[in-house]
Amino acid sequence: MSRDRLTPIERFAAYSRGEALDRLPCVPIVGNTAARVLGVKVSEFRGNGRLIADAQIAAYRRFGYDVIRIFTDLYTQAEAMGARVHYPEDETAYLAEPAISAAEQIASLRPANPCKDGNLPHHLEAMERAFQAVGKEVPVTGALTGPFTTASFLIGTENLARLTLKNPAAVHQLCEAAYQGALLYAGAILDTGCTPSLTDAMCSTTVISPKQFKEFGQPYLKRLVEFIHRRGRSVTLHICGKTAPIWDAMADTGADCLSIDNAADLQAAKSKVGQRVRLMGNVPPSEVMLQGTVAGVRESVRRCVRKAHDNPKGFIVASGCSLPVETPFSNIDAMLDAVREIGWPVDGDALERELPS
């Protein structure tokens, strides 16, 4: 990739040492869009680790971004513990039915075996293949769904929401089961050479209160982060939707980087936790990346960079969440090009003059 002087791994290393870069790191979070790069159907990813790896590698080579994330949907771990997932022919999978319907059934759940259950072995194969192929030049991560979110897929979101108030002990029992599954999977991801990348969508304050996050989300995330740290890797934590009231608590998990959804403000995140964590975000995936124009993408990138380029612990230009499958390639290119155009060092004053707050 002659477009950029540094490989992603060189870029991150230089960034961490405070050295000069060619440009800021940039991560359009490509999931099933990778199918479009190879011209295959999304459903072909099911049970096909080789194809997931090939598509993700092809997408990385096509766009030249800075992290590969092996990801198809958030349900992989819940599915391996008994949830039923529906796979449309050419769209992202969705939850058809939770594994259980009542608190009394929680005791019947067993942590999934990553080598055997559901699609976990295929995802691990994809991680291993991608890491072997390009792991020396680009960080390859494996998506790891947080325990509270997996719990919501295991018992149903509304069920879980009610139980947080009516039967907190049952919620802990369920989160513990999901955590045990996540822990085994995290270990298996690390064994492939990849780094787990944590997503805990349901922990958003769009769904639960900050108090509930601290009770049901954070403790389990913290244990996972500690486990990954013991294996010598740094961790990114993504929570969808609104998160401003829990940024401190998210940083308290020990995560090294927080991925901020476009429903939250990067500048405010920087003031609140920028001394403690790297930030990534938050170009809107739907309104700007899927439906917007090349010019709109450029403007959105410049806005993000203006807000967070001077984050004390560093900043990665990223989409606010995983990109929709049909995101136009031209918009993903535009995102990278906008970051290349800004270049290094970032001229914050110029961005400030150009885009009044």
Binding site: H86, P88, E91, T92, Y94, L95, A96, T157, E158, A161, R162, T164, L165, K166, T205, T206, V207, I208, S209, Q212, C240, G241, P245, P285, S286, E287, L290, Q291, P324, V325, E326
Partner: protein
């Protein structure tokens, strides 16, 4: 209104806000036993409580779990009070057909909108989730709805919203229904582009939007 009646309404409202299903049920039975007008008990008690809960949700003092338990309490009370409504009070409510479009099963957002619209007096026909476009149209015709409300959390299903509007246009029925859209990836500009009548960012906003669109109260 007697002081006693008024304090019962306050107690009903408080028990909804307090997420106390059993107490709401007891107080509703008490209202019936005391011969209190069912419509007033619903409006000044249960609905008042649900509206307070909605405000607490807007100001982020309540979150989805709290709002769900408040609605459980409200529905428990409605179950007791509704059979005591006078016939005409029950019949003239405007109808909203609501559902999650085909290809998605995230329905919490849809359910919150349903709860808050119901609390505002609309009659809700909830089709559920993963609903093909044609079914929204068929049901809206069937029940003579005023509004069709479409929800999704996934970008892959947004086209299904446009399909509903196109189906209505093809059948020359576009003017008969107001179509509103909402959900994580939806924006006002998307609503404008597909020709929807409105977009709401959350449940309380959806109530305001529907009231604005139908140009009058639910009853």
């Amino acid at each position: 209104m007697s002081n006693q009646t008024e304090s019962l309404f306050v107690a009903l409202s408080d028990s909804v806000v307090g997420m106390d299903e059993d107490l709401t049920r007891q107080l509703s039975i008490q209202a019936v036993d005391q011969g209190i007008d069912a419509l007033s008990a619903i409006e000044h008690g249960l609905v008042e409580g649900m509206n307070r809960a909605g405000k607490l949700f807007e100001t982020e003092e309540y979150f989805i779990p709290e709002l769900l338990l408040c609605s459980d309490a409200m529905y428990a009370g409605l179950e007791i009070l509704r059979p005591h409504l006078k016939h005409e009070e029950n019949e003239v409510r405007r109808k909203v057909v609501i559902g999650v479009v085909e290809g998605d099963t995230h329905d919490i957002g849809k359910n919150l909108v349903k709860i808050m619209l119901e609390a505002s007096g609309f009659e809700i026909v909830d089709l559920g989730r993963d609903i093909p476009p044609q079914r929204f149209v068929d049901e809206a015709i069937e029940v003579q709805a005023s509004v069709i409300a479409l929800s999704t959390l996934m970008t892959t299903t947004m086209d299904g919203m446009a399909d509903v509007i196109q189906l209505l246009q093809k059948a020359n029925l576009r003017d008969r229904f107001k179509v509103i859209v909402g959900g994580g990836p939806i924006s006002q500009s998307f609503a404008d582009r597909i020709g929807a009548d409105g977009y709401a960012s959350g449940a309380p906003a959806a109530v305001k939007l529907v009231k604005h669109l139908v140009g009058e109260a639910a009853r």
